[in-house]
């Protein structure tokens, strides 16, 4: 093993007094883009990802999870600062894995204890609806507590020049611009902007940004632990985590085939959809958000996520196409003249629409890849 990396692992993940990590106990995983041994002049480009290591103990059980990145990687620095700050909190220390980080001349390494509990997405399929809603509520409460703790702490989670509150339409502008340039929302942008404008101005709150069931572990004691804080604070729209958790957990829970649209499932009614609506309603009431603001939050969530996956992450289509399909569904609802909030919140009367409301006739297929 490279001497610099070997020394880092030895100092940060000394395992039962072992002086070295034997080669057959180091598994290289999530090998991203190149991590150069040295810089050939100039700073590393942002896409220099690095890789992760799964460190096995003497009994060949996973002991540590280690992220290896270029020294200047801002995301890992950000995540390490958050995790190390939370480790000092008497209440929240147990909500994240114990973490250590260190930099050397070329490398930045973050070592976390390997969490052995099951991931929430593995538990979802066997959970009755009540247990699922309770779990989602607990995880969202935990994420909010972490956000409150960090917002009042030494870590500045706000982008430079960010205001405390922003019109949602402004907040979504860059995402809309990207999706329009990519040819995804031609013809429907005015509809989406109208829904965003109706939402008005929302209070900003730092969001986890990737709060899906795969990033949630149930510890052996039954409490929840949240992982992956590299995107924490990037998004500050208050219902982003709620919407992301509801959408991804329900899709994971039902083992839906590719192409399934979460919003269509919400429309279809049933106890699962009702439970999701109740959670969203309770969350938006706690934030004093109007139904129109909640509908705007949904549009912002989908626009932000699709633009980020497509434009920033440059992820494969498998990642952003399902999000665009949801946005397509939203456009269909808006085009039909129905109120988007009726789709999301309880009391709308279900899929056929309430008294006096137009029934939904969603054309779909309005968004197409160029």
């Amino acid at each position: 093993m490279n001497a610099e990396l070997r020394e880092l692992l030895r100092s940060m993940a000394s395992d039962d007094g072992a002086r070295e990590w034997e080669w057959d106990r180091v598994v290289l995983v999530r090998n991203g883009r190149k991590l150069p041994f040295f810089r050939n002049g100039g700073p590393l480009r942002e896409e220099a990802h690095g890789f992760d290591l799964l460190l096995l103990g003497p009994d060949f059980r996973p002991r540590h999870y280690c992220k290896v990145r270029p020294r200047e990687d801002p995301k890992l620095t950000h995540a390490s600062r958050i995790l190390e700050a939370l480790a000092t909190d008497p209440v929240l220390a147990g909500a994240v894995p114990p973490t250590r980080s260190r930099r050397t001349r070329n490398l930045q390494v973050q070592v976390t204890a390997y969490l052995t509990g099951p991931r929430l997405d593995h538990l979802l399929a066997d959970m009755p609806t009540e247990a699922w809603t309770a779990a989602v509520d607990e995880v969202l409460d935990l994420a909010e507590a972490i956000s409150r703790r960090l917002s009042g702490g030494a870590i500045d989670l706000r982008p430079r020049g960010a205001n405390e509150a922003l019109p949602l339409r402004e907040l979504a502008r860059s995402g809309l611009d990207h999706l329009e340039e990519a040819g995804f929302i031609r013809g429907v942008r005015p509809l989406l902007e109208e829904a965003l404008a109706r939402a008005g101005t929302l209070p900003m709150t730092a969001q986890h940004g990737d709060l899906w069931p795969g990033n949630v572990i149930r510890s052996n004691g039954g409490s929840w632990q949240i992982l992956d804080f590299e995107e924490f604070g990037r998004v500050r729209m208050p219902l982003f985590d709620t919407l992301h958790m509801l959408r991804t957990s329900e899709l994971a829970r039902t083992g839906t085939p590719p192409g399934t649209i979460w919003l269509a499932r919400l429309r279809s009614g049933g106890s699962e959809a009702a439970a999701a609506r109740r959670i969203l309603d309770a969350r938006r009431r706690a934030l004093s958000l109007s139904p129109a603001a909640t509908a705007g939050a949904l549009v912002h969530y989908l626009v932000e996520l699709a633009a980020w996956l497509h434009g920033v992450r440059r992820a494969p289509p498998d990642y952003w196409e399902p999000v665009l399909a949801e946005l397509d569904h939203v456009a269909g609802v808006l085009r039909s003249g129905a109120a988007l909030e009726d789709l999301l919140l309880p009391g709308s009367g279900g899929p056929s629409g309430g008294p006096g409301r137009p029934s939904w006739s969603v054309p779909g297929g309005t968004l197409r890849a160029p």
């Binding site: 001497a3 991203g32 799964l54 204890a113 969490l115 795969g214």
Partner: protein, 220 residues
């Protein structure tokens, strides 16, 4: 940010790396698992000039590319002419030699075991003391003998890894021991009967049947 569709990190890694941009340029990262005394010169021997050769330039000051046909002295990587292989470099020229997609040939019928061993010894000759050979390719009929052949060619320390999903896009590199493979399979987030079977197979010594690509790191 990773949506549910793509898997995600936790205490354990995601083992379904999405093909695409994330894996572009990851080919040379396994060299972090090797000890290199210096990073001045590297010799890459491949069938065709490949994009990953440019990646080597981020790790080494000098990159020398030798097409396989030139290296073997015969077209298409066939048996060497005159019964021997002589790399056209003085001894101790490079800190690293990268052999790309050749191991299957090395174990094949056209390229016999003794020629393979001579070729590997030649690779070791052009390495500086302590330099590293990076050998990547699909497993062929002679795969089980590669470690032995590398040791026979004089390499001091040989480490074999399974590369997933392939050596061309090694999203994961698993040490080729049953216990390490079993641990890797157990930790996969995409659990299920298939993972359990694979973990059991690995524990019983069948790990060599699970993956199709290997990477060897041999220190001279």
């Amino acid at each position: 940010m990773r949506p549910a569709e793509g898997g995600g990190p936790h205490g354990g890694p995601p083992f379904r790396p999405a093909p695409g941009p994330d894996l572009v340029g990851s080919v040379v990262n396994p060299l972090w698992l090797a000890e290199l005394p210096a990073r001045e010169g590297v010799l890459a021997i491949a069938r065709d000039p490949a994009p990953w050769v440019q990646e080597l330039a981020c790790h080494f000051s000098r990159v020398h590319l030798l097409e396989a046909s030139d290296a073997f002295g015969a077209g298409d990587g066939g048996p060497p002419k005159g019964g021997g292989v002589c790399l056209p470099f003085p001894a101790g020229t490079f800190d690293c030699v990268v052999l790309w997609s050749l191991p299957r040939r090395l174990g094949g019928r056209r390229f016999g075991r003794s020629e393979a061993r001579r070729f590997l010894a030649e690779c070791r000759r052009v390495l500086r003391p302590g330099g590293c050979l990076y050998m990547a390719g699909e497993k062929g009929p002679g795969a089980r003998g590669w470690t032995k052949a590398l040791r026979g060619a004089g390499f001091r320390r040989v480490r074999a890894y399974y590369a997933l999903p392939s050596h061309e896009g090694p999203g994961h590199l698993v040490p080729s021991s049953g216990r390490a493979v079993a641990a890797f399979e157990r930790a996969r987030p995409t659990r299920g009967r298939r993972s359990a079977v694979r973990a059991t197979l690995a524990r019983l010594g069948g790990h060599r049947f699970l993956y199709r690509s290997m990477i060897h790191l041999a220190e001279g």
